[in-house]
């Protein structure tokens, strides 16, 4: 499904993209057409194959360029990997653009391809902004919103005004020679060159990994100030059209007023669309196959609508993405969420590549270059200096109010990170040549500023960050403990504020959260999603899944699903006994698990909804089974999987699943849960003091020895604590390794956790029969010597490996073979 969606979206994107990009070569197309007309009368018979270039010309060229951009990105990445990582990707792409542009120039003697502003603003920019806002770390963003707004609004206005006025001053002083340009035009130019470009900033800062506050400040500023620049640009553009004399106080006031209307109106519109989108995804349960598309369509609509109303389109799509992400992600199916994530990244990265490439290509053109040393150098200088002044002054003011002041080093990086990019170029290219005589000079200056900032500052950014020892981003490995502690902090801080009797930041945050929880979530979220959206839970869930996936992929890497199968003995009565409880969970699991990444939702639904009660006492049941119930053999056969070949891939437009054996899915699930359980053992030991445990351990051991079974296996459940576990139940899969000890309070090494160690040793007679059973993968025997080491289970691996030398992988393997099984008693002892 994802790939089909990508294709769809890509196609839409391309078709739209077409018309504008190719304007430059329309003359070419006409020629083609006319030559064809000339040819037609000469046709004497039915042509079998004709060359219909002009039919496909436009889409063809676009696709070829997209393809070239893809190749360019690929090569840039490769070069960066192998040769040098000095130049950031964006800079490399621009340089590559120079080369490609040179080739085109050489062939055509003119630049036939260039970045047209409409193409940029309507087909390349929206998805980049949508991507940035959709993945915006909301908490960070909103807690720094004040600072971001100040930088974005005041900083940008300051930059625009200062650059414009200074240039004008220098012009009046005669530094630029003879130019046909006035104060308003300088201000217009200042406003378009003022904004820090989100595309360039993301591209450079992403590679540098500065700390998250610094990143959000620069990034948030660059996102929001685009809106501001566009507004300023429009205002000054209108002023230029009006002409100097006709501007009076009323007009200026209208300009300022329109600034606020445009900026806040755009943001508001974006929020409205976000609400629409959230409501929409509430009811797309039955058309999950296209719900991912809504995110793009509605996001784009918010952009276009804002543009139509002459509100800030960038701010609109920004707020649409920021506000909808939480609800959309909760409402949509997990698969659709993944689809959106990937598709949005594909589109944004693609656009970004194309933009930088074309920024380079555009430069190779004799038409646009007008050189004026004074103007260009002074612009570069002012842009650089006023950025620094602006940042330092604003930060100085902000630091008086900030709880955590922004450090000087961070300020340096912020000012140095004032990269200009394609937005500035797009705006410059949109200037009206009739009104602004020096348009080409402005374009060339903008291009030079862009190259200077993206390439030179981009290259030096990394060394600078290293040299200044800027605080880098902490590893963002999601850790449950940290998240828990963070939540504790939130509550503690709020409580202390309450005690101090102050309405502070935490008070607002908390009350907003409560309000959001109560009303907004209620309105915008599915009831079911609401129930399970808790952040901590989702992290827990993710960790679980990661483990499960690692486990399964580890098994698969080794060849087949035999590792699941081999553990049948332990699972069997599990199933039999609790089949009924599982019944409600089964349909969920039955869905497609073949694709583990997308199967997430299925597990979740078990974890959070069905809450089946499962006895932990697998092992004891096993024993009983072995003794008196040979029915198990029967059961086993029933539940054996067909080998993988039997999974038929069906074609369907709207569903995409593989008809997989439901048992297998369930087994995989149980298996992973068991492995978690196993690895968890040590942590739960924490319940009781050390000595008790050691004691238990010894007891355990002796029991094991004495409890020898006829076939030479021991059961680890002779402990007197046994009664504790008999009948103790857990009510959810996720909780299932946790509860039992809690019932007693005294921590015990729970014999019920031993099955994975013990089970294989039982080597139930039927196991041998399985091996002869043709319905089992024939390779089983062949595989038995593979050591199944969980090398890739990184998170819990240390515990699992160490704690259970009877690692489940190992045991799964071991249990397959009869000879190994016979050595089990010794093995067992050795382990203990």
């Amino acid at each position: 499904m994802p790939s089909s969606t990508y294709l769809c979206l890509l196609r839409v994107f391309l078709v739209c993209f077409v018309n504008h990009l190719i304007q430059g070569i329309s003359a070419d197309a006409n020629q083609c057409q006319s030559s064809r007309h000339r040819l037609e009368p000469n046709l004497t018979g039915l042509p079998i194959v004709t060359f219909e270039w002009h039919h496909v010309q436009t889409p063809y060229l676009v696709v070829v360029w997209v393809f070239v951009a893809g190749l360019a990105k690929l090569s840039v990445i490769e070069i960066n990997h192998h040769v040098t990582s000095v130049i950031p990707e964006s800079g490399m792409l621009i340089i590559l653009g120079f080369i490609l542009g040179g080739i085109v120039w050489g062939a055509d003697k003119a630049q036939t391809f260039r970045l047209q502003p409409p193409t940029f603003f309507y087909y390349l920019l929206p998805q980049i902004i949508l991507d940035a806002s959709y993945f915006m770390p909301n908490k960070l963003f909103f807690s720094n919103l004040g600072a971001i707004l100040i930088y974005a609004i005041i900083g940008t206005c300051w930059n625009a005004a200062a650059v414009g006025l200074s240039l004008w001053g220098c012009y009046e002083a005669g530094a630029m020679g003879d130019l046909d340009i006035g104060l308003l035009q300088f201000l217009l130019f200042g406003s378009l060159i003022a904004a820090v470009d989100p595309v360039a900033v993301i591209a450079v800062f992403e590679e540098v990994h500065v700390n998250e506050v610094l990143f959000i400040l620069v990034f948030g500023e660059s996102l929001l100030n685009d809106g501001v620049t566009v507004v300023l640009y429009n205002v000054f553009d209108a002023f230029v059209s009006l002409g100097g004399p006709r501007i009076d106080a009323a007009e200026i006031f209208k300009g300022i007023f329109s600034f606020f209307v445009v900026a806040f109106g755009g943001s508001f519109l974006g929020i409205v669309f976000a609400i629409l989108l959230s409501l929409l995804t509430r009811c797309t349960k039955n058309i999950q196959i296209i719900e991912a598309g809504f995110v793009f369509v509605v996001g784009y609509l918010s952009y276009l609508t804002a543009d139509m109303l002459s509100l800030s389109a960038i701010l609109s799509i920004t707020f649409c993405g920021i506000c909808c992400q939480k609800y959309v992600n909760a409402n949509m199916d997990e698969k659709s969420v993944t689809t959106v994530r990937h598709a949005i990244k594909v589109l944004a990265n693609g656009s970004e590549t194309i933009i930088f490439l074309f920024l380079g290509i555009t430069a190779i053109d004799s038409v646009i270059w007008v050189w004026n040393t004074g103007f260009i150098l002074l612009t570069l200088l002012f842009v650089f200096i006023y950025r620094i002044i602006g940042v330092f002054f604003l930060t100085w003011t902000l630091n008086k109010f900030r709880l955590v002041p922004i450090e000087v080093i961070d300020q340096v990086v912020m000012s140095y990170g004032g990269l200009r990019g394609a937005v500035a170029y797009g705006l410059a290219a949109m200037l009206d040549e009739n009104k602004i005589k020096e348009k080409n000079l402005m374009i060339s200056t903008t291009l030079i500023v862009v190259y200077f900032t993206v390439i030179l500052q981009g290259i030096t950014m990394k060394p600078l960050v290293q040299w200044l020892k800027v605080k880098r981003a902490a590893h963002t490995d999601l850790k449950l403990v940290e998240k828990l502690n963070n939540r504790a902090f939130d509550h503690i801080l709020a409580a202390v504020e309450d005690i101090c009797g102050r309405i502070g930041d935490n008070w607002w945050t908390r009350n907003w959260n409560r309000f959001e929880e109560k009303y907004i979530s209620w309105l915008l979220m599915k009831p079911k999603a609401r129930k399970s959206k808790d952040y901590l839970f989702s992290i827990f869930h993710k960790l679980n899944l990661e483990d499960a996936m690692n486990y399964v992929s580890e098994g698969e890497r080794q060849g087949s699903l035999a590792f699941v199968r081999s553990d049948e003995a332990a699972n069997i009565d599990f199933k039999k006994q609790f089949g009924s409880e599982f019944a409600d969970a089964m349909p969920d699991i039955m869905v497609d698990m073949s694709n583990y990444e997308f199967g997430i939702e299925n597990i979740t639904s078990i974890v959070k909804d069905s809450v089946p009660s499962v006895s932990l006492d697998i092992h004891e049941q096993d024993m009983k089974n072995l003794v008196d119930d040979f029915n198990a053999h029967h059961l086993l056969q029933q539940h054996l999987y067909r080998s993988r070949k039997h999974h038929r891939h069906k074609y369907s437009r709207s569903h995409f699943s593989i008809n997989q054996s439901e048992d297998e899915v369930q087994e995989i699930f149980q298996r992973t849960m068991r492995s978690r359980l196993e690895s968890f053992k040590s942590a739960k030991m924490g319940v009781n003091p050390a000595k008790t445990l050691t004691k238990h351990h010894k007891k355990e051991q002796t029991h094991k020895m004495s409890n020898g079974h006829p076939d030479g296996t021991g059961y680890p459940n002779g402990d007197e604590d046994d009664n504790v576990f008999v009948g103790s139940e857990t009510s959810s899969m996720s909780g299932y390794f946790t509860r039992d000890t809690y019932i007693v309070g005294a921590g015990i090494e729970n014999p019920a956790f031993m099955p994975d160690m013990g089970t294989p040793m039982q080597s139930p007679p039927w196991l041998m029969e399985i091996e002869m059973d043709t319905s089992v993968a024939p390779s089983q025997r062949a595989q038995r010597h593979l050591p199944w080491t969980p090398t890739r289970l990184r998170r819990l691996a240390p515990m699992r490996i160490s704690n259970c030398s009877t690692d489940s992988f190992l045991m799964a393997d071991v249990s397959l073979t009869l000879d190994v099984h016979e050595e089990q008693p010794q093995r067992d002892n050795a382990e203990m």
Partner: protein
């Protein structure tokens, strides 16, 4: 009258020196203290109940306990006080004071330790130097219950998983018969290494002499 006023200023100055608050902050907090205690000299648990917003806090019990916990008061004693005076009140609140602008590395490290110790004590209810799974679960459960969307089973599972994480981070390889008893303070420090506590665990104290803050209750 004038004499008592200046005497009070003197006392405040002392307290300000001791706790690092500014004298305005001390004065504001004193007002607040008197408001909470209804003009008594000591603060008791039930006084906290009058703070209406606190009622929503899922871990208010732990937080209030922290105010009466002798361990947090700089005395090397264990146990709980029944009532605290203004100075103790300030001492506790001083844990939430923002960093001084030009603190040295060592000072930061000390403050960090103190803050984490405070947090640790909040978890370690029985004061044996170890946060056992029991204790941890209790807190986690409360934290999660505020959302009423997670049942206690899941809360337990989450606390267990968190504990497991701690174990795997701090202990590394464990022998088969080893088990993790609980989080010691050293481990606690270790796992929260990445956490910028100096930027997390503090609030803004009122500097000005306005008392509008008191009117909201």
């Amino acid at each position: 009258m004038g004499g008592s006023q200046s005497g009070r200023v003197h006392v405040f100055q002392d307290l300000a020196d001791k706790t690092g608050f500014s004298i305005e902050q001390v004065r504001n907090l004193h007002d607040r203290f008197m408001y909470l205690t209804k003009d008594e000299d000591t603060l008791r648990r039930e006084h906290f109940d009058s703070i209406s917003y606190l009622a929503f806090n899922p871990i208010r019990r732990e937080i209030i306990d922290a105010f009466f916990d002798k361990r947090n008061l700089g005395q090397n004693e264990v146990g709980c006080l029944q009532e605290i005076e203004f100075e103790e009140f300030l001492t506790i609140l001083a844990f939430f004071r923002p960093l001084k602008p030009h603190a040295t590395e060592e000072e930061i490290e000390n403050i960090r330790r103190a803050k984490l110790r405070f947090l640790f004590n909040m978890h370690d209810t029985d004061n044996d130097g170890i946060i056992t799974l029991d204790e941890y679960r209790l807190v986690v459960e409360k934290l999660l219950f505020s959302y009423e969307t997670i049942d206690s089973e899941n809360a337990k599972a989450i606390s267990d998983a968190a504990m497991l994480e701690v174990a795997s981070v701090t202990m590394g390889q464990m022998d088969p018969d080893e088990f993790y008893e609980g989080i010691t303070f050293e481990h606690f420090l270790q796992i929260l290494k990445g956490l910028e506590i100096e930027t997390k665990m503090h609030i803004r104290f009122l500097d000005t002499t306005t008392v509008q803050c008191l009117k909201k209750e």
